[in-house]
C-alpha cells in the first residue's frame, strides 16, 4: 500500500500551496478582488485590464491610499472560463472577504457571478459590455463600458447626417458580434435606416469578399461591420478589392490603432464610435476627461511599452469609481459605498462622464462616445470634439 507516499505527496503539495497562497498584506488594508481574463479567449480584454488595475492601485497606495488605508488588490486569472470565475468569486467573497470585485472581463463570466455578488452584498464593477449585466438592475452590480445600443445609435445618427438610408450589416458569430447585430437591427427602424441585408460570418474567416459581394449586389449605401479582430481589417481590404466603394462603419471594438495599421491603405476613412481615450491629446482643454485621459495614456504606454486600449480603461474606471465611492462614504462600509456609487454624478472616467442612478448602473450617456475616423494611419475625430 502506497498510502504513506500518497499522504507525503499530498502534504508536501499542500504545504507548497499554502506557502504560495499566503501573501502578507497590511492589517487594515481594503481588499479588492479582481477577476480578469488575463489569458484565454478574452486576453485582449483581460491583459490590459490587469496591467491597468495593478498600475493604478500602486499609484493610489504610493499617495497614501484611500481614507488613510492601503488598497490590497488580488488579481485572479479566470482564463475566460465561467467555472473558474465562479470559483474565484466565491473564494474572494468568502475567504478573502474582499470589499468589492472588479471585473470579470467578459459578459458570460459576469452573468454567472452577478447573482453570487448580489446575494453576498459585495459590490461588483464589471468590465464587460453586455446590457443584461445592468438590465435588470442588481443592487450591487455596476458596469463601466459603454452600452452597445448607444454605439448603434451613434452610428445611425452619423449615417443620417451623411444622407445614408439603406445599409448592409455584417457581423461575426461571437457574443460581441451577435449583441451588436441585435442592437443594430432593433434601432435601425427607430432611426429611419433600412437594413437591406444582414450577414454573419465565422470569427476566424480570412476572406470576406463572398459576403461583401452579396452586399454589393444589393446596392447598399454603407456597410457596418460588428466583429472582433482580425475580420475588422479584412473587411476594409476586401471592400477595396471588389470595388465596393461605400463608407465602412465599425463598432467600438475597432478602438486599437493596431487594427487600423493592419488594414493599411484600405483602412483609410473607416468611421466608428469610441470613447475619447484614443484622441485624448486632441480634446479641447475644457473637456472634463482630458487630464485623466492624457495621464492614463502616458503612464500606461510608458510603463508597458504598448499602445493603450479602451479595454484597460474599463478597469481604470472601475477602480476610480470604487475609490471615489470609498472617499464619499468616508469609510469602508459596503452599504454606504454602494449608495455613494449609485448617486455618483458627473464623474469623469476613460469611457465617459458617469452619472449613476438607482435605475442606471452603467451611468454613461450617448455623449460618452465620439465618432472617429482613420486618416493617414491615425485615429482622428470625424466631427468636432467636445
Amino acid at each position: 500500500m502506497s498510502l504513506k507516499k500518497v499522504l507525503a505527496l499530498t502534504l508536501s503539495i499542500s504545504v507548497c500551496m499554502a506557502a504560495a497562497g499566503c501573501k502578507k498584506a497590511p492589517e487594515d488594508a481594503i481588499k479588492i478582488g479582481a477577476i480578469f481574463s488575463v489569458t484565454g479567449g478574452g486576453s485582449n480584454l483581460g491583459a490590459p485590464e490587469s496591467k491597468t488595475a495593478k498600475m493604478l492601485v500602486d499609484e493610489i497606495n504610493a499617495k497614501g491610499g484611500v481614507n488613510g488605508k492601503m488598497l490590497d488588490l488580488i488579481v485572479k486569472d479566470s482564463e475566460s472560463s465561467p467555472e473558474k470565475a465562479i470559483s474565484f468569486a466565491k473564494q474572494l467573497i468568502e475567504e478573502e472577504k474582499v470589499f468589492a470585485i472588479i471585473g470579470p472581463s467578459t459578459s458570460g463570466e459576469t452573468m454567472k457571478i452577478k447573482s453570487i455578488c448580489d446575494e453576498a452584498k459585495v459590490i461588483m464593477l464589471s468590465c464587460a459590455a453586455a446590457e443584461v449585466i445592468v438590465n435588470p438592475v442588481a443592487k450591487y452590480v455596476f458596469k463601466t463600458p459603454q452600452k452597445d445600443s448607444h454605439v448603434a445609435m451613434r452610428i445611425f445618427d452619423t449615417m443620417k447626417k451623411m444622407g445614408i438610408n439603406s445599409i448592409g450589416i455584417i457581423s461575426d458569430n461571437t457574443g460581441f458580434g451577435n449583441a451588436g447585430k441585435d442592437q443594430l437591427e432593433k434601432i435601425a427602424p427607430q432611426k429611419g435606416v433600412k437594413i437591406v441585408i444582414s450577414e454573419v460570418y465565422d470569427k476566424k474567416a480570412t476572406d470576406l469578399s463572398g459576403v461583401l459581394t452579396k452586399l454589393k449586389a444589393r446596392n447598399v449605401q454603407a456597410v457596418v461591420n460588428w466583429s472582433i479582430v482580425p475580420a475588422q481589417s479584412i473587411v476594409a481590404k476586401n471592400m477595396k478589392q471588389i470595388n465596393l466603394n461605400v463608407p465602412l462603419f465599425q463598432s467600438h471594438g475597432f478602438g486599437n490603432i493596431k487594427y487600423a495599421k493592419e488594414a493599411g491603405k484600405a483602412g483609410e476613412g473607416i468611421i466608428f464610435p469610441c470613447g475619447r481615450l484614443l484622441v485624448a491629446e486632441q480634446l479641447p482643454d475644457t473637456n472634463k476627461q482630458k487630464t485623466l485621459l492624457v495621464k492614463y495614456k502616458k503612464d500606461y504606454e510608458a510603463k508597458f511599452n504598448e499602445d493603450v486600449s479602451t479595454f484597460g480603461g474599463h478597469a481604470y474606471d472601475a477602480i476610480t469609481i470604487l475609490v471615489e465611492g470609498l472617499k464619499k462614504a468616508g469609510s469602508a462600509d459596503r452599504e454606504k459605498v454602494r449608495t455613494a456609487i449609485e448617486n455618483l454624478k458627473g464623474f469623469p472616467g476613460t469611457a465617459g462622464v458617469f452619472n449613476f442612478s438607482p435605475q442606471d448602473h452603467n451611468g454613461l450617456g450617448l455623449d460618452s462616445l465620439v465618432i472617429l475616423t482613420v486618416k493617414d494611419g491615425k485615429f482622428v475625430p470625424y466631427e468636432k470634439l467636445d
Binding site: 497562497g21 482564463e79 465562479i86 458570460g108 453586455a130
Partner: protein
Amino acid sequence: MDAGRYIPVLILAAAVAAVQLFTLATGSEYYLTQLTMSAYYALVIIGLCTLMGYAGQISLGHAGFFAIGGYTVSVMTTYDFSGFSGSAVMGLLGTLGLASASGGELHLSPWVSLAAALVITVAVAFIIGIPILKLKGHYLAMASLGFGLIIYRIVLGTRIFGEADGISDVPGFAIAGGLRVSGSPELRIQNYYIAWTLVIIGTVMLINLVKSRAGRALRSIHGSEEAAMAMGVNASRYKLYVFVISAVFASLAGAFMAHLNGGIGPSEADVMKSVKYVAIVAAGGMANLWGALTMGVLLNYISLRGYLGSYDDAFFGAILIAIMLFAPEGLINPAVMKTAAVRARSLIDSIKKKTGRGGHAS
C-alpha cells in the same frame, strides 16, 4: 464475495466526512466549494480512467460529453416551453408533475432534463463510438479530438447555447426533501455530500465493473486485442460499452455541475479541458481508479483555487509530458515512483555525459 475491495470505499467515505467536520471545526467551510466542484470533475476522471486504463482506449473528447450533459440541462431548465403548452407531451409531463408553470412561463422539471441529457449522451456515445473505436492508438486519439472540437464549435456557434457567453441563471435541482443541487452558500455542506455520494456510488460501480468478468475482458483487450478476440472476447462490444459508460459519467458530472454553478460556458467544452482530463488520468496511474480519483480531486482543486495563475494549461501540459517520460504508469504507484526516480536519474546522467563529452570536443 470479496468484501475487501470495499474497504477503500469506506476509507474514502470516512475521509469525506472527516474533511467536512474539519472545515466545520476550523471555520473554513469555504474550502468545500472547490472540493464539491472537484468531486464532479473527479467523476469524469474515474470514468475516463476505466476507458483509458482498463480498456486501453484513449479519448480526447470527454469534455464534449461533459458539455452535452451540462448544456442539455441548462437549455432545458431555462427554456420557456409555454409555446408547447397545448401539446400532448407537455400535458402528460404536467399531470406527472414534471412541468410547472410560473409567471406565464412553463418550465420542465430538472428530472426530465437530466433524463434527456443522459439519453442524448448514450445515443451520441453509441453513434460516435461505433465508428471511432475501430481505430487504434493515435488515430483514435485524433478521431475523439475531432468529436470534442465539433461539440466545442457547436456550442460556440449556436444561439440557443448562448455562444461565447454560455448559459446563465440555471435553477437549482431539488432532488428530494430538502436536498437541492445549487451553489448558494447555505446549501454548501449538503452539496458537498451530494457530489461525494455520486463519486462514491460511481467508484463502487466501476470497481465492480473492473473486478468482474467484463473487467478481465477489458484488461485482456488492453493487453492485446487480437489475443482477447482469439479467446472469445467480443472486443468491439466491450470497448463500446465502456466508452458509453465513461461518457455517461462525464455527462452526469456536467449536468450536476451546471445546476451547482447556475450555468455553463463554452470553456467546459474546450479541447484543453479534455487534455486536462487525460493528463489527470495519466498522473493518477492509467489503470488505477484510486490514483485517478485522488489526482482528479487534488489537481482540479489546485486549478480551481487559482494556485497556478495564468499557467494552468501549461501545468497540465507539463504533467502529461513528465508522466509519459518518467512514469507512464502514473504517479500513485509505489513501484512506479521508484522507476520514475531511476529513469529521471539516468536521464540526468546521460545529459551530464553528453554535455561532458561536448565539453571535451570543444
